[in-house]
């Protein structure tokens, strides 16, 4: 079919083939000369079993999980709150709010990373001044620089940037709820609060599930923010290392360690498995249980 050929061709060559080939490569190993030989599960054993590598791997996976949890607990609830407020009837300036709130989402993660790096920098002292004005100056710390808070800070920066996405998706879902239903609940005597939790919320559950899985995929694929703010080493002391940065380092090498495409492919394959598990869980467990209601 002439209509399908170009799209399928490019897609297959630059997406499916590399994905499949990466999985294949993860079972091979290259020696110093570049000759490639089959290695079975050796790469996986190295990553998960080798004391040096496994610590890095589990560290990155754990950090990534925390990164995701912060998004689920902060980004999506804020998105839900904003969407719920935006969808209230007869809200003035609705469109202006919507446009402005979505703004950070449109900017590059790299730019946002730097913006916050400057703002949180003790050198500049902007955040310190601000906290001082609120009487909270004793709380100020170089959050990005400390091992204990760097990952959380980066997660929150990412939340700040991407809160627009759940907001918009949930907002769209709320708009799809017919006015009649809400009015029927008003007649039934329900207040805003009850209408939200008993009528609207159950009806947007499928959207919330979708937002969750999108968050999951995006988080386990994240790289740019950490790389921009912390570099490939994801410091301090790998405390902000996530799967994306681990992949990059393994692939291209860093400092004294040489890059290894095959080991990099192994990391990528493991990321793929994590994402696949998430997506399958969503498709077969969550989506099955949730009913979509014809509205």
């Amino acid at each position: 079919m002439v209509f399908l050929a170009p799209a399928t061709l490019i897609y297959t060559l630059f997406m499916i083939y590399p994905l499949a080939d990466s999985i294949r490569l993860s079972f091979f190993t290259a020696d110093a000369t570049g000759a490639v030989s089959f290695a079975g599960l050796d790469n996986y054993r190295t990553l998960i079993g080798d004391p040096d590598w496994s610590a890095k791997f589990w560290n990155a996976l754990g950090n990534n999980l925390l990164f995701f949890v912060v998004h689920m607990l902060v980004q999506n609830p804020i998105g839900l709150l904003l969407a719920a407020l935006l969808s209230l009837p007869r809200l003035r300036a609705r469109n202006t709010y919507r446009t402005l709130l979505f703004m950070p989402t449109m900017l590059s993660v790299v730019i946002i990373g730097f913006v916050w790096q400057l703002i949180l920098s003790p050198l500049w002292g902007v955040s310190e001044t601000l906290l001082d004005a609120l009487g909270l100056v004793h709380l100020f710390r170089p959050w990005l620089g400390e091992e204990s808070s760097a990952l959380l800070t980066l997660s929150l920066i990412s939340v700040w940037q991407f809160v627009g996405i759940p907001m918009m998706l949930i907002y769209a879902a709320l708009l799809n709820i017919p006015d009649d239903l809400v009015e029927a609940a008003v007649i039934d005597g329900a207040g805003h609060w009850r209408i939200f939790w008993f009528i609207k919320f159950p009806l947007i559950l499928p959207t919330l599930a979708m937002v969750s899985i999108l968050t999951f995929v995006a988080n386990f694929n994240a790289f740019d923010l950490i790389y921009a703010v912390k570099g490939a080493l994801a410091g301090p002391n790998f405390s902000t290392d996530i799967m994306g940065t681990l992949f990059y380092r393994t692939f291209f090498g860093f400092q004294l360690q040489l890059g290894s495409p095959t080991l990099g492919a192994t990391v990528a394959t493991l990321m793929f498995l994590v994402i696949l598990l998430g997506v399958l869980f969503y498709l077969f467990v969550i989506q099955r249980r949730l009913q979509r209601y014809a509205l």
């Binding site: 799209a7 990466s22 979505f102 730019i111 793929f272």
Partner: protein
């Protein structure tokens, strides 16, 4: 009486929304105003707007002289526009074929094309790099265009074919009865009707491409092929202590993106809220 209660209610809602709008915009605003100030003013009073005595364009001068910002910008524009054009054209063609013709393996093909919506293309980077090297395309914008095209196609095809399915059959059949060829139906009937969805898909394609750091970093890190995102990242890495330059380069990256966003936001938001993404 519920009127005063309602007013308080509305005030509360606006207070929350305003607060969050402030949180969302303040950092960006801060960067932009400080980029127009002298170094001393940046540190002395970061929150102040640039005034006559603190106004300075030194950062911008440095950025423009020390880096090829114009080249980066042009590269980004080329990559984005070319990708967009290719994706929309071949994506629409594929979407049309998938939504209109019943052929064997249609569902299978649709599923095959949908894999890319959920699986990030980055995971194939190792092989993509190898492939690009083998094709001799390393450090070319073509490499970026090809990869971004592949990256954007799945969602484009998905959204467009959903949309095309809603076009009434009668329209196509009326055209067929008039003896119009399939190509002409696509060009003259389907594409114009798909315009609203195409606009949405266009924005969805553009934004990630414009903002991406990963592929420029591994496929086209050369000075001549850098995109704005990578250029800014590299520049800041190099001049990290020169606050004027850093702020100016960020502002240079922010302003065009926001300008484009403001122009297209109506379209984009309409697209999202019309349920183009489900």
């Amino acid at each position: 009486m519920i009127r005063p209660r309602k007013a308080i209610h509305a005030a509360g809602v606006h207070a929350i929304l305003l607060l969050y709008t402030l949180i969302a915009l303040w950092p960006i605003f801060l960067i932009v105003i400080n980029s127009f100030k002298s170094r001393r003013a940046i540190f002395r009073d970061p929150m102040a707007l640039p005034a006559a005595d603190t106004f300075s364009l030194v950062g911008f001068e440095k950025v423009l002289s020390r880096s090829n910002f114009d080249v980066y910008f042009l590269n980004s524009v080329i990559v984005t526009v070319v990708t967009l054009a290719i994706v929309l054209l071949i994506g629409a063609m594929a979407a049309w074929a998938l939504s209109e013709y019943r052929f064997r393996g249609r569902v299978l093909l649709a599923l095959y094309l949908a894999i890319g919506i959920m699986v990030p293309i980055r995971l194939g980077s190792v092989s993509i790099l190898q492939l690009i090297v083998d094709l001799g395309l390393i450090n070319t914008l073509t490499a970026l265009v090809l990869v971004y095209t592949a990256q954007s196609l799945p969602l484009t095809i998905f959204i467009l074919s959903e949309f095309m399915q809603q076009i009434p059959r009668d329209l196509k059949e009326a055209a067929r009865c008039d003896g119009v060829s399939e190509y002409e139906i696509f060009w003259r009937v389907i594409l114009p009707l798909t315009r609203p969805a195409i606009a949405t898909v266009g924005v969805f394609t553009m934004v990630p491409v414009w903002n991406d750091l990963w592929f420029p970093l591994i496929l086209a890190p050369g000075e001549d092929t850098r995109t704005v995102t990578l250029g800014v990242q590299q520049f800041i890495g190099q001049y990290v202590t020169d606050w004027n330059s850093v702020l100016a380069s960020l502002t240079l990256a922010i302003i065009p993106a926001l300008a484009i966003y403001l122009v297209l936001s109506r379209q984009l938001i309409r697209g999202i809220t019309a349920g183009a993404v489900k």
